[in-house]
C-alpha cells in the first residue's frame, strides 16, 4: 500500500483512470435512467413510485460505502501517517454526504405516498440521519483547526468512532421493528426482486460508484495542489523571515 502513498504516483494513476471513470459513469447513468424510467415495469403494489427505488437504494449503498471508505482512509492516515490517505478521506466525505442526503430526501418522497408519512423515527431512518450528521461533523472538524494536520487527526478519529453506525444501519431493519422494509436485494437465498428491476438498480449502483471515483480523483487532485501550495507559501514566508 505504501507504493500508492506517493502523490506523484497517485496523479499518474489518476490520469489513467479518470477518462474511464468518466465514460463508465456517463454510460451507466444514461442506461440506468433509460431502464429506471422507461424500460422497467411499475410495481404491482407500489405503482410508479417503485422508480424512486433506483435512486434511493443505490444512494443508500453509497452513503454507507463512502463512510466505510472514509474510515479506512482515516485509519491508514492515523496509523501509517499517509498524507495521501488523509486527503482521500477528506475527498470522500462530501460525496458520502451528498448520497446520504439524496437517500434521505428520496426516502421521504417515497414514504409519503407509500407509508403516508414523510418521516418516522424508526431505526433505519434515524441511523441514516445520524450518518448524515457524522459526515457533516467530519467535514466541519477537518477544517476547524489552523493546522490542517490537527484537524485531519481529530476528524479521522471521529470517522473511526462513527463507523459503528454502518453495521447498525445495515441490520437496523432486522434488529428492531421498523417501518422500513428489510433487505430485498442482498439477502440469503438470492434477491427477492425481479430481474427487470434488478437491471436499473445495478446500472445505477455502477454509475454512482464510478461517479465517486471521478469526484475522488478531482477532489484529491485539488487537495494535493492545495497542500503543495501551502507548503510553498510557508517556505516563502520562512525565507523572507530569514532574509531580514
Amino acid at each position: 500500500m505504501h507504493r500508492f502513498a506517493n502523490p506523484a504516483r497517485f496523479l499518474r494513476i489518476a490520469a489513467i483512470i479518470q477518462p474511464w471513470a468518466m465514460a463508465v459513469a456517463a454510460l451507466s447513468f444514461a442506461a440506468g435512467l433509460w431502464f429506471s424510467l422507461f424500460a422497467s415495469p411499475a410495481d404491482y403494489q407500489q405503482g410508479e413510485t417503485v422508480r424512486i427505488m433506483y435512486i434511493h437504494v443505490p444512494s443508500a449503498w453509497m452513503g454507507m460505502f463512502c463512510y466505510t471508505a472514509m474510515a479506512v482512509f482515516s485509519a491508514m492516515g492515523l496509523i501509517w501517517k499517509h498524507p495521501l490517505a488523509d486527503l482521500m478521506a477528506r475527498a470522500t466525505a462530501p460525496v458520502g454526504a451528498a448520497f446520504t442526503f439524496i437517500c434521505l430526501v428520496t426516502g421521504s418522497l417515497w414514504g409519503k405516498p407509500m407509508w403516508g408519512t414523510w418521516w418516522v423515527w424508526d431505526a433505519r431512518l434515524t441511523s441514516m440521519l445520524i450518518l448524515f450528521f457524522l459526515y457533516l461533523g467530519y467535514m466541519a472538524l477537518a477544517d476547524a483547526f489552523d493546522d490542517p494536520e490537527r484537524g485531519q487527526k481529530a476528524a479521522g478519529i471521529l470517522a473511526l468512532v462513527g463507523v459503528v453506525n454502518v453495521p447498525v444501519i445495515k441490520w437496523s431493519v432486522d434488529w428492531w421493528n421498523t417501518l422500513h422494509q428489510p433487505a430485498s436485494v442482498v439477502k440469503m437465498g438470492g434477491p427477492a426482486i425481479d430481474a427487470t428491476m434488478m437491471v436499473p438498480l445495478i446500472l445505477m449502483a455502477v454509475a454512482f460508484k464510478a461517479y465517486w471515483i471521478l469526484v475522488l480523483i478531482f477532489r484529491t487532485r485539488s487537495e494535493i495542489a492545495g497542500a503543495k501550495l501551502r507548503t510553498l507559501r510557508m517556505a516563502q514566508v520562512h525565507a523572507a523571515g530569514q532574509a531580514e
Binding site: L33, L37, R51, I52, V215, F218, S222, A225, L232, A239
Partner: protein
C-alpha cells in the same frame, strides 16, 4: 402524445418520482462541477507559484540565493 403525458404523470405519482430524479441529478452535478473547478483552480495557482519560485538548486544554496535578492521576492499571489 397520450403516451408522453402518461409518462410524465407517472401514474399519479409525478410529484414524488420527478423530484427524486431532479434532486439526484442536481446534487451530483453541483458536487462534480465544484470538485472539477476546485482542482483546476488549485492546480493553476500552484503552477503560478512554482513558476515564480527560484530554482531548486538555488533554494538549497542560501549563499547563491542571497546573491540574487530579486529571486526571493515572490509576490503573494
Amino acid at each position: 402524445m397520450d403516451n408522453l403525458s402518461a409518462f410524465f404523470a407517472m401514474g399519479g405519482y409525478a410529484g414524488y418520482v420527478w423530484p427524486t430524479y431532479i434532486l439526484a441529478v442536481v446534487v451530483m452535478a453541483v458536487l462534480l462541477i465544484a470538485s472539477v473547478r476546485s482542482a483546476h483552480a488549485n492546480e493553476r495557482d500552484l503552477e503560478a507559484a512554482q513558476s515564480l519560485r527560484p530554482s531548486r538548486r538555488r533554494r538549497n544554496n542560501p549563499s547563491a540565493a542571497s546573491a540574487e535578492p530579486g529571486a526571493e521576492e515572490v509576490p503573494q499571489a
